[in-house]
């Protein structure tokens, strides 16, 4: 199971037809201290590149875009009480949502780790 990355700085980890989605460590570093996360409702239909969640740092609010089209099946409730989890474990415990994706071809449009690291460094 490999992790893929979007140009909007989300990561995607796929198991079967379920994708776990979060923001990258690079993104959390740029945001700074996260103080609030607004997660989508279970059952919400999201489309690739569309709004999926909101993450607010001390500085500003930022949109989190859906890297894949599908339906939200689970959200990380731990973020409600402890939004700083995004800073401590952006690419682990700080995941945002699980999406049952409907178009596997969209996975091919995402970057692998090496390509993402290069994208960020550019």
């Amino acid at each position: 199971m490999s992790v893929k990355f979007s140009k909007d700085h989300e990561w995607v980890s796929v198991a079967g037809d379920i994708a776990t989605i979060g923001i990258t460590n690079h993104a959390q570093e740029q945001l700074g201290d996260v103080v609030f996360v607004e997660l989508p409702a279970i059952g919400k239909k999201v489309s690739k590149g569309g709004d999926a969640a909101v993450v607010e740092s001390v500085k500003a609010a930022s949109e989190v875009y859906a890297p894949l089209t599908g339906e939200v099946v689970e959200v990380n409730k731990d973020l409600e009480g402890d939004p700083a989890l995004v800073n401590r474990g952006a690419e682990g415990d700080g995941w945002f949502m699980k999406v049952k994706f409907s178009d596997a071809a969209e996975l091919g449009e995402l970057m692998d780790r090496a390509a993402y690291d290069k994208f960020v460094a550019a």
Partner: protein, 372 residues
């Protein structure tokens, strides 16, 4: 991309070596945060002592033959009672336009030299302010813009103890007063004032001495460098206005809830630029007022957020809003129609197109910890 030449303060190298994130601010390249981040810097300042480089701010002297003459000249352009200032005393005031709108807010100190007033104004407004002052000064009273002067702010409950190690006289400066101190040989004009709601000092020294004083203060285990990010969250929790956001040329000091800064004699006598509106609003009440607003949930409401009544009618706007680390939740301030300005009034904030319940609250969010 246009290449803008950004000014640097005398402490630029210090910020760089501390690993600060430097951003353009009011024409200067300023530290917005150091590696520990805004939350940690905010909390450090509320617990120990934070050191801020605020050298971008405007400093100057208004100089006349004696206090009465200089004070009269200054009172023509600010609503505060300057004539009544005692030697070494500081007052907060505003420059107003003819329509009573705020051109800038500033600190005015009656300096030790008779006939000298020391002023500190906002970086973004200093060029405008200095022109405005010069335009209004009568013959015999002159403005001296301070050049090559830095300004450091040391803020927090440990500030007194830290500064007193360098000059014990620091401890006996009363709140909103200044004294000339010698900090390890460095001549410094030290004001007991600040922009965080905490006890603390604002220290004016030459650019030449600034790096040594900065290092001297940072050498104290109770002191850490604090950037503009935490400066903003600290002042927001303290209910203090940020020019260009909470106050501007459209807002009057009465609307901005700054009437406390207009002393009694001036409220009855007027005699300052913009007095007509100010006196009328004192008499009849302003149509809108700056208030504190506490969102009920965890989501911050940012500047520009629309405020409605509980039925959805627009009644105002948020002018500053974010997360208050000490308040441990979202905090905001803004203007609402006066009928909704009573503490405890329920309002809605339109965040991402959804109404979010909030309450009009008294300011500050965190009690001021001034040394009275």
């Amino acid at each position: 991309m246009t290449v803008e030449t950004l000014h640097r303060t005398a402490l630029y190298a210090q910020h760089e070596s501390l690993g600060a994130k430097l951003v353009p601010f009011a024409g200067y390249e300023m530290p917005v945060q150091y590696p520990t981040g805004i939350l940690a810097e905010h909390n450090w300042t509320r617990t120990y002592a934070g050191l801020f480089d605020v050298s971008h701010m405007g400093q100057g002297f208004v100089v006349g033959p004696d206090h009465a003459t200089t004070a009269a000249a200054m009172q023509a352009i600010v609503p505060a009672d300057i004539a009544a200032l005692k030697p070494h005393q500081i007052r907060y005031s505003q420059f107003l336009n003819e329509q009573g709108g705020i051109l800038d807010d500033l600190m005015i100190t009656r300096f030790a030299n008779d006939g000298w007033l020391y002023i500190v104004c906002n970086a973004s407004r200093k060029t405008h302010d200095f022109t405005h002052i010069e335009k209004h000064l009568p013959a015999g009273v002159k403005l001296q813009r301070s050049k090559h002067m830095s300004l450091l702010a040391l803020q927090g409950p440990k500030a007194e103890c830290v500064l007193a190690k360098l000059d014990p006289a620091a401890a006996s400066i009363p709140f909103m007063h200044y004294a000339a101190l010698k900090l390890d040989g460095i001549v410094a004009h030290v004001s007991r004032s600040g922009y965080t709601g905490e006890d603390g000092f604002e220290i004016s020294v030459t650019d030449h001495d600034a790096p040594r004083l900065w290092s001297l203060l940072l050498a104290d285990a109770d002191v850490k460098p604090i950037g503009l990010g935490a400066r903003d969250s600290l002042r927001l929790e303290a209910g203090l206005c940020l020019y260009g956001h909470d106050i501007d040329e459209t807002t009057s000091p009465v609307e901005a809830d700054l009437l406390w800064s207009i002393q009694k004699r001036r409220r009855s006598e007027g005699g300052f630029v913009g007095a007509a509106r100010v006196l009328a609003e004192i008499k009849n009440g302003p149509s809108r007022k700056r208030v504190g607003i506490k969102p009920e949930g965890r989501a911050p409401a940012r500047e520009g957020t629309v405020v409605t009544d509980t039925a959805g009618r627009v009644i105002g706007t948020i002018t500053s809003g974010g997360f208050g680390p000490t308040a441990n939740g979202p905090v905001a301030m803004g203007y609402v129609e006066s009928a909704f300005a009573t503490v405890g009034t329920a309002v809605h904030l339109i965040v991402r197109e959804k109404p979010m319940p909030a309450m009009v609250t008294s300011l500050p969010f965190i009690p001021h910890n001034y040394k009275r």
